[in-house]
């Protein structure tokens, strides 16, 4: 039976191999499991933008884009399977999972594939001298933490001395990322940080919120994903924690997170690096070329949501990098090393975003050989429960590079030493 199975599987794998002529951008998505609700929206946004480019412009530079999808269920073992099954001819990976990212970082440098992790993954990958193949522009978790603290500084007239801030986090690599930055920021600004881990998937948070009720922190920051977000916001409402003092990272700021708590979630805030809603010119094109012909990914039910927009934003940056790479390489059929060059020379300006049809959708940033993370600008959005939409309440704010730079330097140097990498000189 085993032999037959193996032979059959071999046969099916041959059939699954994609045609080599197009540019291949695999979508390692997750539409099932504890994080499926968010993963579905992200994957839809990612797919739809490439469908739009294919339908409207005939791809990028005349090359059609193929987006083969593979279901990872946010599981690292399935992630490995997906990576191996799609890497043939692939240009860039965007797995939307910090765990899978950590696993792929060493692999992509050997296989020479680009790993693009906007707003997640390993923060110190910003250092392009060490992480040659990884890009995490426009913002990473440390940027997000710093921007949130900066916002709180503004709220408090520049002084957070003696304030108590609690961090509710997903007890995983993802949730632990901001702790180091927040500790340093706490020392700098004199606030007291309480770390409150939530075990995945986070359906049970009674004790955590009881602790918050007892400690009475002034602000709560949250690094959550999936069902944990809804539960946390509901629990916060239950203990009558003031929502305007509750700030989530971008992955804790989507419609599905705040909706279940109803009117009680009014005023909840989240950091974000992309716009939301369908008030952008690009949605007219999307309507004519993708939605009306019925090509929208999975029926297009999430169009314009926060996480959908973020998936689309990732696709926009990848598409721009492909464009840049084609320009640099002088050929439209680029490969992954050429795309890497494209990423390193990428200059996202507000003008270009407006041309695409997404004015002010994301921050302007410029990448280089040593800077793979951009300037880390992000903004704050607030939930309006009555209108059922997010409102952007600040402009793009720059994070505190004085704190972040040394941390990134230290963490990437540690990685380089551990893995015997000589940092590139640039």
């Amino acid at each position: 039976m085993k032999m037959k199975l193996a032979a059959l599987a071999a046969g099916t794998m041959m059939a699954a191999a994609p045609a080599m002529a197009d540019l291949i951008v695999p979508n390692l998505s997750y539409r099932t499991g504890a994080y499926g609700a968010g993963g579905t929206q992200y994957a839809d946004g990612f797919n739809d933008y490439f469908t739009l480019l294919n339908e409207r412009d005939g791809g990028i530079g005349g090359e059609m884009i193929q987006v083969p999808e593979c279901e990872t269920a946010y599981n690292t073992e399935k992630g490995v399977e997906c990576y191996e099954s799609t890497k043939e001819g692939a240009l860039v990976f965007n797995p939307l999972s910090t765990g899978i990212t950590y696993q792929l970082i060493p692999k992509v440098s050997v296989d020479q594939k680009v790993l693009y992790t906007p707003g997640y993954g390993r923060t110190s990958a910003k250092n392009g001298q060490v992480f040659e193949w990884v890009f995490n522009a426009p913002a990473n978790y440390w940027d997000g933490a710093s921007v949130a603290i900066k916002y709180l500084l503004d709220e408090n007239g520049g002084d957070l001395n003696g304030k108590k801030i609690a961090l509710v986090y997903h007890n995983s690599a993802y949730g632990k990322e901001p702790i180091r930055t927040l500790t340093e920021l706490g020392e700098k600004h004199g606030f007291e940080l309480t770390e409150i881990p939530v075990e995945a998937p986070g359906q049970e948070q009674k004790s955590q919120w009881l602790q918050i009720r007892r400690d009475q922190p002034d602000y709560v920051l949250m690094w959550g994903w999936g069902v944990m977000n809804q539960v946390a916001i509901q629990e916060a409402a239950n203990i009558r924690f003031p929502m305007e003092n509750f700030i989530g990272i971008w992955w804790t700021g989507s419609e599905i997170d705040v909706m279940p708590a109803g009117a009680a979630s009014n005023g909840y805030k989240a950091v974000t690096f992309n716009g939301v809603g369908t008030d952008y010119p690009i949605y007219e094109d999307l309507q004519t070329h993708v939605i009306e012909p019925g090509l929208a990914s999975q029926g297009g039910e999430h169009i314009g949501s926060a996480v959908y927009s973020r998936g689309m934003y990732a696709a926009v940056v990848i598409a721009e990098a492909i464009r840049k790479a084609q320009e640099l390489a002088g050929t439209s059929a680029i490969d992954a090393p050429q795309l890497r060059e494209g990423f390193e020379n990428l200059n996202m300006t507000q003008e270009r975003l407006a041309e695409i049809g997404l004015p002010d959708f994301g921050p302007a940033f410029e990448l280089s050989c040593s800077n793979h993370g951009g300037n880390g600008k992000a903004r704050i959005q607030q939930w309006d429960a009555e209108a059922q939409q997010w409102t952007l309440i600040t402009d793009f704010t720059e994070p505190d590079s004085e704190i972040l730079e040394p941390l990134i330097e230290a963490d990437s140097t540690a990685f380089a030493e551990e893995n015997g990498i000589t940092p590139k000189d640039c």
Binding site: L5, C70, E71, Y102
Partner: protein
């Protein structure tokens, strides 16, 4: 017809007691070993290694380990994931602390450390039995995962709590780290599988194994005929955890390359390995392989058929895949509650008599 047994006489107890008493089986076994060791490494590619063969081999080791404890000694354990985590974190600490020592020694040492942890958590088994023991081992599962998450020393104070396997070589070939070739990774895992199966088979048919089975079948009777429950139960926990630790070490170092304790070694892993043992067949080495194959290869195969051939949307395929695997588990357990190993045994008995069943 399939089994030609004419002239197949056994003239010594040694011949009669061997693992594969039927000549055809024995030859088949050697052929499989030969193909696995000398043909597969030359044709293997990244996909086959990382998605199919490595997980199969590594889970087979884990299933052999749990089968010793649950199948042979009758002690139900839900702590497999936690013990695999002990193996993974031990090998990580050893790899980073003693980079000059061979990775093979590190893996064995990790197995040894896990064995000791397993014995410590096996102590309650002397007083509590059955479902209650399952709950006690569940505590081990949660405690160990919590420990590796909580104490930064275990993950060398990395910012995110992830552990990443540095590159280590065997005879000049990288077997861990990103540059390792699929053949090298496969051969290392294969060597450990053969070692584990060989040791397990010989332990279980010797005196120790008989003691375990006596304890499993009726512990009071076993005690009366002179089996010391302390040594029998604790040795079962020790040997079982040794293999489970090796599986965890290989899972992290060779297969995944990076791991996070809650995600990679959570309670799901304990259930997965337990299901492998139950579906494969309690108290059978072959069953451990069959169970691992069933639960590792079938989902990958279904995914390739549903998405690759039929072109279904990935989420629909993922859901259907869960349903098919679940339905098959129920089907097999109804048709043959003793697992795939028993099914294979029945088939073999029929084949030996065929075409003259009477």
């Amino acid at each position: 017809m399939f089994y030609r047994e004419a002239g197949n006489f056994k003239t010594s107890y040694r011949d009669d007691g061997q693992t594969f008493p039927i000549k055809l089986d024995r030859m088949g076994y050697y052929v499989i070993l030969g193909v696995a060791a000398m043909v597969v490494p030359f044709v293997i590619n990244d996909y086959w290694a990382s998605a199919v063969l490595l997980p199969f081999l590594i889970y087979a080791i884990a299933a052999i380990g749990l089968n010793i404890l649950t199948g042979y000694a009758g002690q139900v354990s839900l702590g497999t994931g936690g013990f695999m985590a002990v193996g993974a974190y031990s090998v990580y600490k050893l790899m980073t602390a003693f980079p000059d020592l061979s990775i093979l020694i590190h893996v064995l040492l990790a197995g040894g450390i896990t064995a000791m942890v397993g014995i410590a958590f096996g102590l309650p088994s002397l007083r509590i039995k059955g479902f209650y023991l399952a709950v006690a081992t569940l505590a081990a599962q949660f405690f160990l995962v919590w420990l590796f998450n909580k104490v930064p020393w275990f993950y060398n104070y990395s910012a995110s709590g992830q552990i990443t396997a540095p590159e280590r070589t065997v005879l000049g070939w990288a077997v861990t780290g990103p540059a390792a070739s699929p053949a090298a990774k496969y051969l290392v895992c294969l060597a450990f599988v053969i070692f584990a199966a060989w040791v397990a088979r010989n332990l279980t048919r010797g005196m120790i194994g008989r003691k375990w089975m006596a304890i499993r079948d009726m512990d009071i009777a076993a005690e009366i005929i002179g089996v010391n429950p302390l040594t029998a139960k604790l040795s079962a926990f020790g040997v079982s955890s040794f293999f489970v630790g090796i599986a965890g070490a290989l899972l992290f170092a060779v297969y995944l390359g990076a791991a996070e304790v809650g995600e990679a070694f959570g309670i799901n892993k304990s259930f997965l390995v337990l299901f492998m043992v139950i579906i494969g067949g309690l108290g059978s080495i072959f069953g451990s392989f069959a169970g691992a194959a069933f639960l590792v290869l079938l989902p990958v195969f279904l995914k390739n058929v549903l998405v690759g051939v039929l072109g279904w949307p990935t989420d629909l395929a993922a859901h259907i895949e869960l349903m098919i695997v679940g339905a098959l588990i129920i089907f097999f357990l109804i048709v043959e509650p003793h697992g795939l190993a028993r099914l294979w045994q029945l088939v073999k008995e029929k084949l030996r008599l065929w075409p003259f069943p009477h």
